[in-house]
């Protein structure tokens, strides 16, 4: 756990900052929203991200990736979070690719991972069936069928499910909803037996509800032991999403501080009012603590440490709460114009809440942390 970036990671971060600032400012997201874009992200932009190697940052070099690790992916996600960049990076390069890396046969990896790194393949992970994160809650079934499995059931809030070419489905081959045992991961093509409805969310980003009616797919990992792969994939997802959120937190906070300096009321900058100063300073502390937990969690991922689970929960719970706080205070401190759609600060508040409910809210992660700690 170095808790500082190395030079390579710093260079990646600088490059990501440049790209996001210039190519994916928030106005891009606004444009996608107002133009009712069907994919919800800009495909040219995605191709550029692929060309920069981002889709393969965590994919081993043997399979066509950069092998830069999670700290590398983290700095990119963080910069994307600053500009609310819409892209399939989390769904495809973290969640989907992760399931294949941890659960796929060498043949499957050799076949699919280069396609992910090359931007030809979009993936999604279908886990939720209720409005709350519940990794072991699957009632969707998988039945053996030929070489593979047939999947039946319905999934909610599948990130980028509406554009994915292949979907990793968390299904059940035995046991009951809530059991960790009996889960099986099946990789299905988005085609026959897969009915996708995009859900238009408040943050103008992308998810889908998906009905599977006997869709055919292949096994990832072992039958009934899907949770072993799933936990790893979800923890990586939680930590990388936390990294994205950290970017949003910082950008939103910095914009708010800047506004406090320039906005005048009663003849003075509102940042001179101690009531606001103290709240700003308190937020500063929360932001600094957030940076530390994300960095440590990313390091643990790279080290494949036993502490990944607790660090994922530490990071996600903290980033949920900090993003919620900083974005709410951002709107409040901007006053009336913070309430207008024209001004961008509100976009962070919308994104913060969708992130909060993706891959586990704070109650979920605090409970999980307590369980890991044995109380």
């Amino acid at each position: 756990m170095p808790l500082v970036l190395n030079e390579e990671q710093n260079m990646l971060k600088d490059a990501a900052k440049d790209f996001c600032t210039n190519s994916t400012p928030i106005s891009q997201l606004r444009g996608l929203r107002d133009g009712a874009s069907e994919s919800g992200f800009d495909t040219d932009t995605w191709q550029q991200m692929v060309d920069l190697g981002w889709a393969g940052i965590t994919i081993p070099e043997d399979f066509g990736g950069l092998g830069f690790g999670y700290l590398g992916m983290g700095v990119v996600m963080e910069e994307c979070g600053r500009t609310l960049t819409a892209s399939p990076l989390l769904s495809t390069a973290v969640l989907g690719a992760g399931a294949i890396i941890h659960g796929g046969s060498d043949e499957l990896k050799g076949d699919l991972l280069p396609q992910v790194a090359g931007g030809e393949l979009l993936l999604a992970l279908a886990v939720e069936e209720t409005p709350h994160h519940n990794p072991y809650g699957a009632t969707t079934t998988a039945e053996k069928s030929g070489d593979g499995y047939k999947v039946t059931g319905s999934k909610k809030f599948v990130l980028d499910g509406h554009v994915a070419n292949k979907i990793v489905v968390v299904a059940r081959t035995s046991g009951n909803a809530g059991d960790r045992d009996g889960l099986t991961l099946v990789l299905v093509d988005s085609g026959a037996g897969v009915n996708v409805t995009r859900t238009i969310m408040a943050d103008s980003r992308n998810a889908a509800n998906i009905e599977f009616s006997g869709a055919q797919g292949v096994l990832l990992g072992e039958e009934g032991k899907g949770a072993d792969v799933l936990d790893k994939v979800l923890d990586a997802g939680r930590i990388l999403l936390s990294a994205e959120m950290l970017g949003g937190v910082q950008e939103c906070f910095e914009r708010t501080i800047e506004y406090l300096k320039v906005r005048e009321q009663f003849g003075v900058p509102i940042g001179s009012f101690q009531g606001l100063k103290h709240r700003a300073a308190q937020m500063f502390c929360e932001v600094e603590l957030s940076k530390s937990v994300v960095l440590e969690a990313l390091s643990c991922l790279d080290d494949d440490s036993e502490q990944v689970g607790e660090l994922a929960s530490l990071a996600k719970a903290r980033l949920n709460d900090t993003y919620n706080l900083v974005s709410s205070e951002g709107v409040q401190m901007h006053g009336g114009i913070g309430m207008t759609d024209e001004y961008e600060i509100g976009f962070f508040m919308k994104r913060s809440r969708v992130c909060e409910h993706s891959l586990g809210n704070s109650a979920f992660h605090r409970d999980r942390y307590g369980v890991i700690q044995g109380y």
């Binding site: 709350h132 238009i200 969310m201 408040a202 009531g275 009336g336 309430m339 759609d341 409910h357 109650a363």
Partner: protein, 399 residues
């Protein structure tokens, strides 16, 4: 039988006969009647109900009957409220005419002003909006720049107002303008009434983060104001304007309900919604940390409601002390915001839908109500301003 009991029986009978059945269910947000010349009645019963109530003056039950009001005492008013609640009768009309400018004219208006404007509010013929804030003014209301010049037989107004709530539907606007540019900030301001049906007034809706446009920018370009449309004294409008703000704060805090019902409880009780989306475990809401927070919020709402009732009981005239409005505005909007944040947590990803078939009406409404609630602690004097007022006026803390 006491006079009040008699009044109750009469009222009950009258309501039974005059309140259409379709008006006895809670009103969908898009069918709330605000009155005015642009009002469209999606349900014709709404117009009948309004006319019936207006004929008794019961759209403004406690206003004097000579201005078209109901002329009821506070006790009679409470009986009327009770009886309406008994049959779940919806309010026939609401808006700033009733909550803001009406009470202000009763306090400060001339006899002629009252006779001209109040009956048209009562009947729903004229709808009002408010022109206070200006771009760049925000909480520092008194720094307003909209100019009002004396042109001999009339005034002429030039400038821009912002956050004019419902201006796109309103017929008249009451507004604060600067009549004496050289005077200190709080002096030289006047309170004038402006007919919006004139070329000098332009209205432009503002799109909010909630996707709605309840507010507008309103531009005055040589707008004409009658000389007799000045409320209170020339250059002393700040006094009138401040009094009116108290009415606004009461209304934003949900004070008008007298604490009988929590804010946002139209969408259902928070705990019921939480149970619906999360379920129970051994008879208790299944997420124990959220449960504690939900109970806390419901306890706070109940304590808040009891406090509103206490202040009403303590006051002879049924009015609320100045400092209390700041407390209610502050606490009501903050508790309301918290309630909606908890509702988001309870409903998970279903609370964040924007449009489309994956979310039902209740869910989509919540998303937007949540976003709109953030204005509660900004508009009408931010939470910070209310805390300043309490610290200074109530606690006497030094500047």
């Amino acid at each position: 039988m006491t006079v009040l009991e008699e009044f109750r029986l009469e009222t009950r009978g009258w309501l039974e006969q005059n309140c259409p059945a379709s008006m006895r269910v809670s009103v969908p947000e898009d069918q709330i009647v605000g009155g005015g010349k642009r009002q469209v009645y999606a349900n014709p019963d709404a117009k009948i109900w309004l006319d019936n109530m207006a004929s008794k003056g019961w759209t403004a039950p406690m206003w004097p009957s000579k201005y078209g009001g109901g002329g009821l005492s506070k006790e009679e008013f409470l009986v009327l409220q009770d009886e309406m609640m008994r049959i779940s009768a919806r309010a026939p009309i609401s808006g700033m005419g009733f909550s803001m400018i009406g009470p202000t004219l009763l306090d400060y208006g001339t006899q002629e002003q009252k006779m001209e404007h109040l009956p048209k509010i009562v009947s729903g013929e004229i709808r009002w909006c408010q022109g206070y804030s200006e771009p760049g003014a925000g909480s520092d209301l008194a720094s307003l720049q909209t100019k009002c010049e004396d042109k001999g037989d009339h005034y002429s107004v030039n400038g821009q107002k912002v956050w004019t709530s419902g201006a796109q539907y309103a017929d008249w606007i009451y507004t604060l303008v600067r009549t004496e540019p050289q005077a200190p900030k709080h002096e030289g301001i006047s309170f004038v009434l402006i007919d919006m049906a004139q070329p000098g007034v332009t209205v432009k809706p503002i799109l909010l983060i909630s996707g709605n446009s309840p507010f507008c920018e309103t531009f005055f370009d040589d707008a004409t104001v009658r000389k007799d449309s000045l409320v209170g004294q020339l250059n002393r409008g700040w006094t009138v304007g401040k009094r009116l703000l108290q009415h606004e704060r009461s209304s934003i805090s949900g004070l008008s309900s007298g604490g009988k019902k929590g804010r946002y409880d139209d969408m259902g009780k928070l705990s019921d919604i939480a149970v619906e989306y999360i379920g129970k475990d051994s008879g208790k809401l299944a997420d124990p940390a959220l449960r504690d927070a939900v109970i806390q919020n419901e306890l706070n709402q109940r304590a808040f409601g009891l406090t509103q009732q206490r202040f009403m009981a303590e006051s002879d005239k049924g009015e609320t002390a100045t400092f209390a409005t700041s407390m209610f505005k502050y606490y009501g909007s903050e508790t309301g915001k918290e309630r909606l944040e908890l509702q988001l947590k309870a409903m998970g990803t279903q609370s964040l839908g924007w449009e489309g078939p994956a979310f039902d009406v209740k869910e989509r409404t919540l998303t937007r109500t949540w976003l709109r609630s953030k204005a509660g602690s900004i508009a009408g004097g931010s939470s910070e301003i209310q805390l300043n007022i309490i610290a200074k006026r109530v606690l006497g803390l030094p500047d």
